[in-house]
């Protein structure tokens, strides 16, 4: 146990934070402990946490995708526009919507790999551009009245109390876990994240891995957009706006290095549980939205700062090497 904790320091800290959150929540609100609330807690953020899974890969690979929330909106807008036209079978509209997300990812991946541009800039352009595209498609309309079965996917339960999207999340999570930590592809993702040059020298097809990740990111964002539409029953051009911050926060809080190369699925899952529980607890304690966001922001900074300081004092060294003062 102690050995595991030493090896997984970050995950151990998260477990303590999560446990503390749960204890505080239970003591603050009598409504917290209930199966319905437990399902709600996931269900209310289901689109975000689905994208968190794939964002974990992207960041470990040393890249970032700021465009996910806009791609969510874009995919849902494509689907809604096709549905609105009325000519097409709705299932086909859904498929084309998700494919549009994949193409958005493909386009960004191409620009990133072909021109060697930083993903931060390319996906920033994507963040603005795909949101724009979603708004071009839907303008000021809110498209709803989807077939009943579609809304049931988002709103009703599949197995026992679990909505379809939640089941999808857990299946996806299990798959991602295996791919990231048990497959050759996962190892490549880590190696590239550590050093793209080293990866290249050791014969890893860096660009191809990057491409696949961005396409996956776009596809999953597209899927999340469609699920979003199913959950709320209507699509507007602003769907999912500013979700990227929450998504990236959860991944980084999970101990994934923003520089790539390190992080674990377990950490991300723990971070995700922690954030969802904190938001839920604050919500039940009637804390308004802006304060909730502030608390998460504080947590994000603290999650990197506290271990840094702890390490510094434990080692009785003036500063970690990375930001050491120069010699006198």
């Amino acid at each position: 146990m102690r050995e595991w904790a030493a090896k997984h320091r970050w995950e151990s800290i998260l477990i303590v934070v999560l446990a503390a959150t749960i204890v505080v929540n239970v003591s603050l609100s009598p409504f917290y402990l209930g199966f319905g609330n437990f399902v709600n807690l996931f269900w209310l953020s289901i689109e975000k946490i689905i994208v968190v899974i794939v964002m974990t890969f992207v960041i470990i690979n040393g890249e970032i995708d700021l465009s996910v929330a806009s791609v969510m909106g874009f995919s849902a807008a494509v689907m809604a526009t096709l549905y609105e036209g009325g000519e097409m079978a709705f299932v086909l509209a859904i498929v084309i919507g998700i494919v549009a997300g994949a193409l958005a990812g493909l386009l960004q991946g191409l620009v990133i790999t072909r021109f060697g541009l930083p993903s931060l800039v390319v996906t920033l352009a994507g963040l603005i551009g795909f949101r724009g595209a979603a708004r071009v498609l839907l303008e000021d309309r809110s498209v709803g009245d989807f077939p009943e079965w579609f809304e049931r996917i988002g709103q009703q339960t599949l197995f026992g109390p679990f909505p379809v999207a939640l089941v999808l999340f857990f299946v996806g999570l299990a798959l991602a876990w295996i791919i990231l930590e048990r497959s050759a592809f996962g190892r490549k993702v880590y190696v590239i994240g550590n050093s793209a040059d080293v990866a290249r020298f050791s014969g890893i097809e860096v660009d191809s891995v990057k491409m696949r990740l961005f396409v996956a990111s776009g596809t999953v964002a597209g899927l999340a957009g469609v699920l979003f539409a199913a959950r709320v029953g209507a699509v507007q051009g602003t769907l999912g706006e500013t979700y990227e911050l929450d998504i990236i926060t959860m991944v980084l809080l999970g101990g994934v290095s923003i520089f790539g190369g390190s992080g674990s699925m377990l950490g991300v899952v723990l971070a995700l549980f922690t954030v969802l529980n904190i938001r839920n607890g604050l919500g039940l304690a009637n804390i308004d939205g802006i304060t909730q966001t502030g608390v998460i922001g504080l947590l994000l900074i603290g999650s990197v700062l506290v271990p840094n300081l702890a390490r510094r004092y434990r080692l009785r060294r003036p500063a970690p090497e990375a930001m050491a003062h120069g010699p006198p």
């Binding site: 609100s29 409504f31 209930g34 319905g36 609330n37 709600n40 209310l44 708004r135 303008e139 000021d140 809110s142 709803g144 809304e151 709103q155 959950r231 709320v232 029953g233 209507a234 507007q236 051009g237 602003t238 706006e241 500013t242 938001r279 839920n280 919500g283 039940l284 009637n286 804390i287 308004d288 939205g289 802006i290 966001t293």
Partner: protein, 389 residues
């Protein structure tokens, strides 16, 4: 509050009559409910008429209520738990509305409702979250200003299924799913009428060019008001008023200033900017002020008196209008409390007395295909004589 004085002068005698009638009906919750139900059929006939002729619906509601007679006075009873959920917590009008709700809660001997909401007025999922949490908490009433379209349908239905009345105010649920009743600030068609009239007052009888600076292209309330205004403009009375363009400032100060100046540059003959948003109107007034354009281009629309004061004084914004958000919150709380304590029933024809604001009637909502409405009204117009501050 100024608006209210005028109103209470009209309502005063009616309220006295209604109070007596309500007192006759008995003061326990159960009996008053029956009294409310009894009025239903009597009021229904007049309601439809009132709904058809929209311009001064507020006045007609009072008439029909007087005809129906037996209004239920909502009185203090048990304390209830409630959630007061605005579009977002950061725009000045919503804390104002909440202060009205707090005032009502104090009068009714109830704990104030929890004032929670998303940080961003466009965040529909934030509202879904707060709605769902409120249901989990088992509150006895939810007062909601819907910040999106149909996205709130499912959680509102969940609340209704859990027996929680959902009283919307400021902005309703379009399909009325799960909604008990909508407390409307003013009649949406009347908003169009009032804006057109203000434009005519400012531009004079010979008319001129004007433009609209709205919130966002997705803002449901603003779009409804603009559509209503365009309808009024199509009538011969207003044929001299030429609407040249509608632009959007996204309820962001910087964007609104940019959009307002863009209008000034694109249309050399522009004489008026009409902004049906409290953020937009003040930004437009400020933009005209700092570019020295106030002489040629005036600003009007829907604005908060305290924000508009310097521009009324300078003549940049000669006239604008708004309803009282404090009163809106107050009335919404009364309605929610009345329903939650079973003093009134959310159905067509129910008439009731809401504290200092007097008597109202629940009618079918003529602006939507479904749903019930309580119409607050009236507009207050603000100008140099009545700056409102």
């Amino acid at each position: 509050m100024k608006a209210n004085k005028r109103r209470s002068r009209v309502l005063g005698p009616l309220v006295v009559v209604a109070l007596i009638l309500a007192a006759c009906g008995g003061d326990s919750g159960d009996t008053t409910t029956t009294a409310g139900e009894a009025t239903t059929t009597a009021a229904e006939a007049t309601t439809t008429v009132a709904a058809e002729t929209t311009t001064s619906a507020a006045a007609e509601t009072t008439t029909s209520a007087a005809a129906g007679g037996e209004a239920v006075e909502i009185t203090a009873g048990d304390s209830i738990t409630a959630t007061f959920l605005p579009k977002c917590t950061n725009i000045a009008v919503f804390p104002q509305a909440n202060s009205g709700a707090e005032e009502a809660a104090a009068e009714l001997g109830s704990d104030p409702a929890e004032f929670v909401g998303p940080a961003d007025c466009g965040d529909a999922t934030g509202q879904i979250e707060f709605m769902t949490n409120a249901v989990t908490q088992g509150v006895q009433a939810i007062m909601l200003s819907n910040n999106s379209g149909d996205q709130l349908d499912a959680p509102a239905q969940a609340a209704a299924d859990a027996g929680i009345p959902v009283v919307t105010w400021d902005s309703p649920i379009p399909s009325a799913t799960g909604e008990s009743v909508f407390v409307a600030q003013v009649d949406f068609d009347e908003t169009g009428q009032v804006m057109a009239e203000m434009a005519r007052t400012i531009l004079g009888d010979d008319g001129g060019e004007f433009a609209i600076l709205s919130a966002g292209p997705d803002s449901a309330n603003q779009n409804a008001w603009i559509a209503a205004m365009e309808e009024v403009l199509a009538t011969p009375e207003f044929e001299n008023l030429v609407l040249v363009e509608t632009v959007y400032g996204n309820d962001v100060a910087e964007d609104s200033v940019t959009a307002a100046l863009g209008l000034a540059d694109s249309h050399p003959d522009l004489e008026l900017i009409m902004a049906p948003t409290t953020v937009g109107i003040v930004a437009a007034a400020q933009a005209m002020t700092q570019e020295g354009l106030c002489e040629t281009i005036k600003v009007s629309g829907l604005g908060l008196p305290e924000e508009m004061a310097p521009y009324v004084e300078s003549g940049c914004a000669p006239e604008f209008a708004l309803w009282s958000f404090v009163d809106l919150g107050y009335l919404a709380y009364y309605v929610a409390y009345g329903i939650a304590t079973e003093q009134i029933v959310a159905e067509e024809g129910t008439t009731f007395i809401a504290g200092r604001m007097g008597e109202y009637e629940i009618t079918a909502d003529p602006t939507r295909d479904a749903g019930l409405r309580v119409l607050m009204g009236p507009f207050s117009k603000y100008n140099a004589e009545n700056p409102g501050t």
